[in-house]
């Protein structure tokens, strides 16, 4: 009898241990990433903190900017599927080719990305300072310029700041870089080429782009008022860039308005 009782006790203990292991495993799986984000601060490597803090925000803003023709808040746009899409080339006249509205698109996008991250930049560097203060440091930061660069296959954001720590000797960190994988640079090159066609012929042949660039899908959606919405999609990443153009519009049927 005693032996049997021991055995059932052992089984119970094993069951409890198993349940505890499963619960701990589940907790680790669901909660650990958050714990790590909150507390995973490596005082030796502040750049990694800034990268983690800003990466998502930059990605989201880049996506919004790309879907809106290169602007975070389009000023002159066409409403397509409830989205504002900036005109990169436009004429209000029929039978005429368009006037380029954004000739320096790459620089414009870089400036838009820069402006879109001002708040999160401030927030992330404040968090960084706070982390150092919590570790007993006395961090000092010298502000500098922010540079955004669209580069092949990536977007590079550089915060030209100098961080100094004085607790254990003087430590100095500068040029905080955040790199986001993205093919916006390549897409902008193709957008410029389409705009060039629009200025010369009032139209662009999407087939030739899809023939030359196997990983690219180019869609052209003509609208009632003569506007054309172009949608460029990178097939592997599903990254998109949308923009509008109105060029060489033909009045509908017998219409003679705007002629």
């Amino acid at each position: 009898m005693i032996k049997r009782s021991d055995k059932s006790g052992q089984v119970t203990i094993f069951i409890i241990i198993a349940v505890v292991i499963v619960v701990v495993g589940l907790l680790a799986f669901f909660v650990y990433p958050r714990i790590q984000t909150e507390t995973g601060f490596d005082s030796e490597n502040p750049s990694v903190f800034i990268q983690n803090c800003m990466e998502k925000e930059i990605e989201n803003n880049v996506e919004t900017i790309s879907l809106q023709g290169g602007s975070l808040e389009p000023e002159f746009y066409y409403m397509y599927d409830n989205s504002k899409i900036e005109y990169l080339c436009y004429t209000n006249k029929d039978y005429l080719t368009c006037v380029v509205q954004q000739p320096m698109l790459k620089q414009h996008i870089e400036s838009e990305i820069k402006n879109s991250i001002v708040n999160s930049e401030k927030l992330c560097f404040e968090k960084l300072m706070q982390n150092y203060i919590e570790q007993g440091e006395n961090p000092q930061i010298i502000d500098g310029m922010t540079y955004v660069k669209l580069l092949p296959n990536k977007i590079e954001v550089t915060f030209d700041k100098i961080l100094t720590l004085a607790k254990e000797g003087s430590q100095r960190y500068e040029n905080f870089k955040v790199v986001v994988d993205n093919n916006l640079y390549e897409l902008v090159g193709i957008v410029n080429s389409i705009v060039e066609w629009e200025t010369v012929y009032g139209d662009a042949d999407t087939s030739s782009y899809m023939t030359y660039y196997p990983n690219l899908k180019v869609e052209k959606k003509k609208q009632d008022d003569g506007t054309t919405v172009y949608i460029l999609t990178e097939r592997d990443s599903e990254n998109k860039f949308q923009f509008a153009s109105r060029s060489m519009a033909w009045p509908s049927g017998y219409g003679v308005t705007n002629a």
Partner: protein, 497 residues
């Protein structure tokens, strides 16, 4: 007298103010910026953003909206049709004239190893620093196609490194420059798996896809690229010894799509290297990659990769509201491209050996009704029209051998608008048919001419169809259903007078 003079003066002033007001309100102004945010547009005064420059003239005649070329010195690009301000506000450099007339905007072929791009010399130099490659800028390759066709790969070969106790004789398959930089022993055109090199690398069943290349390649045991995947030569030592060109590899000249044994894919022929997907691809005999078939299936029909074809909302004719579309098959996916609305553009397609090519083209219907002979009417290079025999505008019956020219693709217009010219446009096809009766000898009246115009008479249906066809050919006129099969408001009436 004085009172009369004052009244006249007042009248003149009033008239003058009125004329000035009319001019101010209706004259077109060149706005540097409009209230909606557009740059350099000819608009009405009320649309002008008065914080920017504007003047009562066409933009072509202004200095501030004169169009020229915006040169981006940083990127080496030139953008035409650009106003000076939009260029300079983003640090661009503006020059009058078109890009083709500006020396620094001349394009050439920028060759960068196994890549090429048709760009300006400045941009080519920028690529050199951006990608850290050596570039070769050639001005003798006059267009993009010639440029891309001239790509030649840098010669690669086995780069062997001296024997180490731990790893043995190792090898990398790289270019000569890369090998010399890493102080290896370079063997041009030889694979790392070559037995003669006596390296640790040997043949394997593994395959891979290389970015920028179409083919499936064998990979040796060290992970180096070998020749194009050909399962029949897996155990052939010569195939693992030296580089075999794509042209001399299996199945060259065809797409080899879905081939289990050959990885010589070709994007232009309709295949490209992709990781094998169960359920989508045929399982390869070796490795995990296959020449993915890029053809498309659409409404039960298979279309080749790169094929484009036409579709319309309505099967038979251009009904009110209907539109033409181009459908495109690329990369296993069909995309739909609408042509301009109201048939301002129509889709035209042609086929060569079952391969269809289609595009939206401007509907050239405008002068159809003014053409009076069949030959000119059917000249497809000048216009898209059709000839209707035995028909005359507004005259019935038509003279024998007469005919009229009507649009082949009926243009649409805003017939629902009160201000539209629907009545006058459609009125072109109005026909008055006079039916002649003669008093019979005994009693009653006998029809002696144009009986077909009478409802219920023999031949009435054909007559009505012909009239209706002409009517609907000149635009959204006549009695027809619209593209979603809804009836119009006005039915065709034939009234007996």
């Amino acid at each position: 007298m004085r009172k009369k003079f004052l009244m006249l003066l007042f009248g003149i002033l009033l008239f003058g103010s009125f004329v000035f007001l009319i001019q101010t309100v209706s004259a077109t102004v060149c706005a540097e910026k409009t209230l909606s945010g557009a740059w350099c547009q000819d608009v009405e005064m009320y649309e002008v953003d008065t914080e920017h420059r504007y003047s009562q003239t066409s933009c072509d005649a202004t200095s501030y909206c004169k169009l020229g070329t915006c040169i981006n010195n940083e990127e080496g690009t030139c953008t035409g049709n650009t106003a000076q301000k939009t260029c300079e506000q983003n640090n661009g450099f503006w020059k009058a004239g078109k890009p083709v007339d500006i020396p620094q905007c001349q394009k050439g072929c920028c060759l960068m190893g196994d890549q090429a791009s048709f760009v300006t010399q400045t941009r080519c130099k920028m690529f050199a620093s951006l990608y850290s490659v050596t570039v070769d800028f050639r001005t003798n390759l006059g267009n993009e196609f010639m440029c891309l066709s001239s790509i030649t790969s840098d010669v690669k070969g086995a780069c062997v490194f001296g024997e180490s106790e731990e790893f043995g004789r190792t090898c990398n398959f790289v270019t000569q420059k890369e090998c010399l930089d890493s102080e290896g022993e370079f063997h041009t055109g030889i694979l790392c798996s070559a037995e003669s090199l006596n390296t640790v690398c040997g043949p394997s069943d593994q395959t891979t896809c290389i970015p920028g290349k179409d083919e499936v390649y064998f990979v040796d045991t060290c992970g180096n690229i070998a020749n194009v995947y050909d399962s029949s030569r897996r155990n052939d030592p010569t195939y693992w010894t030296s580089v075999v060109s794509v042209e001399n590899s299996c199945g060259y000249g065809s797409s080899n799509a879905d081939s289990k044994t050959c990885g010589n894919c070709d994007y232009f022929s309709g295949s490209t290297c992709k990781a094998y997907k169960r359920g989508q691809d045929v399982s390869p005999s070796l490795g995990d990659n296959i020449c993915r078939n890029l053809d498309c299936k659409y409404e039960g029909k298979t279309y080749s990769h790169g094929e484009t074809w036409c579709a319309t909302d309505t099967k038979n004719n251009d009904l009110p509201g209907s539109q033409h579309y181009v459908l495109k098959c690329y990369n296993n996916e069909v995309t739909v491209e609408p042509c301009a609305v109201k048939r301002a553009e129509v889709c035209i397609q042609e086929s060569v050996e079952d391969f269809t090519s289609a595009s939206c083209r401007t509907n050239m219907w405008q002068d159809c009704t003014s053409i009076d002979n069949e030959k000119d009417c059917l000249n497809d290079e000048q216009r898209y029209c059709e000839w209707v025999k035995d028909y005359e505008w507004n005259t019935y019956p038509a003279e024998k051998d007469s005919g009229v020219c009507v649009p082949k693709y009926a243009p649409g217009f805003d017939f629902w608008n009160a201000e539209s010219e629907a009545e006058s446009i459609c009125g072109l096809a109005t026909v008055t048919c006079e039916v002649k009766y003669e008093k019979g000898l005994l009693d009653g009246w006998d029809v002696v001419a144009n009986e077909e115009c009478l409802p219920g008479s023999s031949g009435h249906k054909e007559w009505l169809n012909k009239m209706e066809n002409v009517c609907s050919a000149i635009g959204d006129c006549g009695s027809s259903l619209n593209y979603i099969k809804q009836k119009g408001y006005n039915e065709l009436n034939v009234t007996k007078v």
